[in-house]
Amino acid sequence: MKPLKTFEDLEAMLRQWVSFADPHLYDAGGMVLLFAACLDNMRLRMLEAELEDIDSYLTDEQKEFLLKLAAIVQRAQSPG
């Protein structure tokens, strides 16, 4: 793993991340845990006004995927 020196290094590393140990074995649960860490960071630090602006940072593909995740979470929480 290359040392992270810039914001772009961190962003690129996360985009290509497979696993902390084995590049041939994708750690899906681990990626969800990293996403959850980002969610916690945003929940605890971002101002309501800043949340209002998140739309402008996301591509159409990312928005579509976020809605898909939200639907899966909602379905899992529904009784029955």
Partner: protein
């Protein structure tokens, strides 16, 4: 093949299991099929055939001498999340992680083979490859049935 059941983890010490498996691995050469009696593990629910869809860029990337695409797994050591997750992913087990296991014999009966594909980070790495079945919907269904759920972290 077995039904979707939850098994108790093997209770022997991780060190003893690791020692025993290292001797098994020492007798194996990269690219060789695993013996029938070995057990392998994957992280994920056993009853989700969709977990066996091949992932482009990872599951089709050559691992040393193993160039056939397939799904990655690891030779089981003690069937506990505390041992198997760090071995495969280099992190501690967390809530939501599920460990499933299968004997190589059952995977062969499902129409697949298991090749030894160690990596510098994971000497227990194996790859499940197509044999008489492919990773299409029917093949994934058969493969999922070969796995038992071992344990889920709460």
């Amino acid at each position: 093949m077995r039904e979707d059941t939850t098994r108790e983890p093997v209770r022997s010490t991780a060190a003893r299991q690791r020692e025993a498996l290292e001797s098994v691995c020492a007798g194996l050469r990269p690219g060789e099929p695993l013996p029938d009696q070995l057990e392998i593990v994957v992280v994920g629910s056993n009853n989700h055939p969709g977990n066996f869809v091949l992932r482009s860029g990872i599951d089709d990337a050559p691992i040393g001498l193993v160039t056939t695409p397939g799904k990655s797994a690891a030779i089981a050591t003690d069937l506990t999340l505390e041992t198997e997750i760090p071995k495969m992913f280099g992190r501690l087990p967390r809530g939501g992680d599920t460990l499933s296991g299968a004997f190589v014999e059952d995977i062969r009966a499902a129409g697949f083979d298991v090749l030894f594909a160690p990596t510098p980070h994971n000497p227990f790495h194996v790859r499940i490859v197509a044999k008489t079945h492919t990773f299409d919907a029917a093949g994934r269904e058969a493969l999922a049935l070969a796995f038992d759920r071992i344990v889920r972290q709460r």
